[in-house]
Subunit: 396 residues, 4 copies
């Protein structure tokens, strides 16, 4: 039982265990084929239409490599632990809905995609007769060999390594390329924790800088931000209209979520994908509500709101004035104009030291944080968040 | 007025003329963002989710390179001709509907995508006040400088060069790689026709072999064939149900086409994209008709029909017998079982010599067909079509 | 004991056995660092300066992959056999001298590089106390598991796979790229012989076509041929002058070989590398003999003889006449002019069916030659040699 | 007059002016074919055997791109200036001798390779009848349009862009990859100076980090340092022996330089290349002087001195003691033992702000140094030099 899947990034990905097959073939996993990894970033980077399905497979591939490198260095990993870690990384994004970055808290209000992933794993575990017990322990960080969890979720996890590599490949932003293969070879385990060998310092620094660049150049690109904010506002407007009885369900599984259910319905959630959002957007282009139809048309046709990005918030004066003009031009109220004219902030840290740290293991047994090594590139200022203010408004 | 677009295949694509911008920003062109180039091939090659939008841009980029190479060799090309050829290649796929390879004659019966492209160009030309006059002449092969048409549509056109390069990039089938940059440098014009310089012979041979490989390994991959045939049958069944009044329109623009209109309605056609097909497939998974719901579920969840590919047709006996078994198992009639059990043929030629030929211009002025050069790799047998027979049926 | 070597082609190459280390560190193997794989081809492809050292390591890497793929398919390969095959491929080129393609039978008259490799292996085996016993059996084709020998030397050996991949990488001739990773995954063993699975047919066809292209476009490129023939003639002239006592040894290890020894002296041979040839060429640019100094200067400064390549031999008339002109211009005799004006032939076969064949194993157990499969690209004509005639003479 | 050269890094490099051809074909430029760009780094990175010839061509290619990008942005560059800048970059490394990094001040004492390049350009200018007048002005920084000089030599010159890209390609250290194509598109000219547009900040930061990584991971890799120091000491010893009359010239052009001439002899210098050094090293392996022969053998066979790299200098005690042991073991004096046991320092700065700075031009016209932008990655500490201490000694 052995299957080989072509991947433009790594060449071939090998699947060789029945449990991995069962996950792969499950309709809920197949759903990830219909959810793009980078959502609206393809408006700026038209090659970036790859799916969460392939990202999950890619991360699984890197997990396989990481585990076999660690084993070659003498780290004790049983076949059960290996399988559980592989299943865990394959499922790490299963809880993502469509356009997740933008819609995460819009579709399902108080629930992160990680929590949904956890719920889904639990359900799958029942279906698979407990085969995911160990996976769930590791995923939740409850397993003593902490490095297994850290490989799934941490500053050096294979999730990040895959998405940076993959997003950089599909966008064509070659500067985001990280040396994932070298980093994998530099990983080690010390006192149960995942660490990097001393000679890997420069690779890690480059990894963090590549990540920084990808954030500002791609993920938080101002045009992408504008498109995402438009999408968020379209769905907020739709919710409002549903509430007011001005928009009625037409069979799309998305309506259930617009009605703001008390509790998440997994079966319904696992039917959602990008086509539902796109389908409604296209339908709404012809809705009677000006806000809903205008924003939907604009987004579908890529006539995006103009956006200004800067270091200071937009003063209330110009904001109000722009709203008044827009209200006049579109023949809508000033409250409605807030859907077209708004501000907000985008934030990123190059190295988040509050979180899991990146630990370097020196030859003499010493352990230091990557920001504490000699002549560190990653200094304190990089650990503090960078905040940018954006201001969106229609093109005149 | 200059815009640079990131492309993972060529690096950067430059747009620098208002007409090209107008085309690019037109909703009908933006629609191509929502139509995947390789449709269901991503079931086998999960990276292959790139769109017709990016392919069109890529072909435009190669056209720019080809024209400037030819000019550097002294071929006379005016700025107007250059612009017209670029607009032509940008629009060459505008008439494609969703899942075009499979659905081309299912959605719009007697109309190829080229004819639709032509209709759309005519409409756009009106909108753009005649700026596409020359483009249309070239596209239709009515312009005296034949090589401009041959660059858009011929055995060595930039369309093929881009799709082979791009499909090979996104599938990860590195063997499909062609030396597009070298071929472009080997192109020349003689007596108004596009030709290849003598020293380009090996590159052209390799191009044809790469194309042959991509056909059998990717485009006509048996799993892809199976998925495409399932999709075709789902839509045929839907048409039947619409006819019988058992399936009623719900707002999807696709229904109009299922009702089999007398004439193509461009405005409706240009609203269609992949999400419409996916949306209906998902909805139909819960339809009361067993054929429609079963096939739709299977396709959505990638539980594809088994397929056998061989050199001989399936004998009527086994075909009938399998149909009877399936009818019994699924509780449907034998006529309905034909939707699950069927045969057909897939055909491809390595070098189609009936069509536009590939002409080689020798240093001494002689012109020969690529299959007529000394020690030719491309011999007569490769010009005749290879036909393979497939047989599809449900997994037991 | 584990070392990782960076390779731009495959990423990382892992060495993990003491015997492999011993070979790698041996001065005779280190010598391969100073012998370029493609010799004078760098006159046309300036990136192609990679060494036989790296090619040997690359082939070793592919051997490791091939063996582990075969093992995963159930082929029985013991650790000893694995080690022996790896040592064998690492040493397969150890008998190459400098500028081997051109000088193979000029420096050491009746001795191919394979024979020298065999002699060297024997000597190393003594040094390594018999650790190479099994390697030698395999290398000589005397071991019952024939596929091990076929992986080292055969139509599908890892030597070819590496050199095609590597030469294509370093020359930048992207069209020479073969899908080595896919071919490795398609290999299988049947009745002790190396074969290709049915679904690998297209990959193999492409491999043969890529090889054909590399031969005519790179290895037998007319400028490369010209440079090689110049080098051969320089050494022939030097031999003549040594014989006549007009050129006396100055400490270069090369002189020993110019004196035409009765028997090969391994210790001396294993001191030879590219720098010896280059050193003498540079010194000879100032020798009193016009033939020697002129040809040496021209080669060092890349002022190569003009070369015409065609399908017919050069008639004796023009040849003689050109010689007379050159004799007059350079003030040398007509016999000497033959060093500047000469003809010859270059030959290559796309698929050499006299030799080891490429066997395809079909699912039904049938075995067919690659040129005998349905719709074969590799037809009979490609198996016959293509012969081209060249004619070299000085630029006027 | 148009020639296309294959380059594995950029694909094709176009030469289209007689002056560029004349430079290219000059024996002094052809000499660069025989000088490796990375010298002894190939002991660690065996793929890194590319030559200064190809690097010079690559930098020329980037210069062509940079100039045409700048022109497209409206920067005024005349055809004469373009040609002069291209000739300048092609010749920027012409003054390099063999193993230049290590031997720069050993072979020719008080003369940097830049000064030699200048002398050579002067001589070539005479040969080419003044065609290099403008090139020399630009190269020397005496031409009013300063950006032309800055493109040849500055923090953002095309020399660096090519060598980082190329060295990273040939070593296989993918982390050294810089986004040279994006950087080129971000260049601009303001008040006569080369600057970077605001949106290029992240690319520049990544460029500096990639450079930092390449220095510590490749150029100053401890094994490379050890090999270089061995080579330096071998030549110092040879000089000493020549002085003492214990080593006598044998025709190698290198001896002239070992005799320590008062003034540089260009004609002799331009005959030197790697093969001269390699030739002598090989010959010296059999010299009677233990220091010369031992170090030469070790270097040729890659039995390198062990090296320790740290933040502190080696104390005198252990140094002396090791020397005594080595003197005893090799039967040489303690003064001679200094050739085998020695310490030293390696230094690098990530961003050298004393030198030419990297200026960022903001949209509002403001100009800031890259270390002064908001949330700068390149902070003050990175501008100060990092110094590491090494200690070399024989393996026991």
């Amino acid at each position: 039982m052995r299957k080989i899947i072509n991947d433009p990034v790594y060449g071939f990905i090998t699947i060789d265990h029945p449990l991995i097959f069962s996950i792969l073939n499950h309709p809920w996993f197949q759903r990830l084929r219909r959810i793009q990894q980078m959502a609206l970033a393809s408006f700026v980077y038209p090659g970036a239409v790859h799916t969460r399905f392939l990202h999950s497979l890619g991360a699984y591939h890197l997990m396989s490599s990481a585990l076999s490198e660690l084993r070659a260095k003498g780290v004790d990993i049983s076949p059960e632990e290996e399988l559980a870690a592989k299943a865990g990384i394959l499922l790490h994004d299963i809880g993502h809905g469509p356009f997740s970055h933008a819609l995460e808290h819009v579709l399902v209000e108080d629930c992160s995609h990680e929590s949904i992933s956890r719920l889904i794993m639990k359900r799958l575990n029942e279906e698979f007769n407990g085969s995911l017990d160990l996976t769930i322990l590791i995923f939740n960080g409850q397993y003593p060999k902490r490095f297994l969890h850290q490989l799934i979720s941490g500053q050096l996890d294979v999730d990040r390594m895959d998405y940076l590599t993959r997003d950089s490949f599909f966008t064509g932003v070659s500067e985001g390329v990280i040396g994932y293969d070298r980093i994998l070879k530099m990983l080690t385990v010390h006192d149960g924790d995942l660490m990097v060998e001393e000679k890997g310092i420069y690779s890690i620094e480059k990894f963090l800088v590549a990540r920084r660049l990808m954030y500002w150049q791609v993920y938080l690109h101002k045009t992408v931000l504008s498109a995402e904010q438009m999408l968020v506002r379209i769905l907020m407007r739709a919710k409002e209209l549903v509430m007011d009885g001005r928009l009625s369900p037409d069979g799309s599984p998305l309506y259930h979520f617009l009605e703001g259910p008390a509790e998440i319905d997994l079966d319904r959630f696992c039917r959602l994908d990008d086509s539902d959002v796109e389908g409604l957007l296209k339908r709404w282009t012809r809705h009677e509500d000006t806000v809903l139809s205008t924003l939907s048309s604009w987004l579908i046709d890529r006539r995006l709101l103009k956006i200004r990005l800067g270091n200071l918030p937009t003063p209330a004066g110009p904001l109000e004035e722009t709203r008044r003009t827009v209200a006049r031009n579109l023949g809508i109220g000033e409250r409605e104009a807030c859907y077209f004219v708004f501000d907000g902030t985008a934030t990123n840290r190059t190295y988040d030291d509050r979180d899991e740290k990146i630990r370097v293991l020196f030859k003499n047994g010493e352990v230091r944080d990557i920001s504490q090594v000699d002549n560190a590139l990653i200094h304190q200022t990089l650990a503090s968040p960078v905040k940018k203010f954006y201001f969106c408004f229609p093109r005149s």
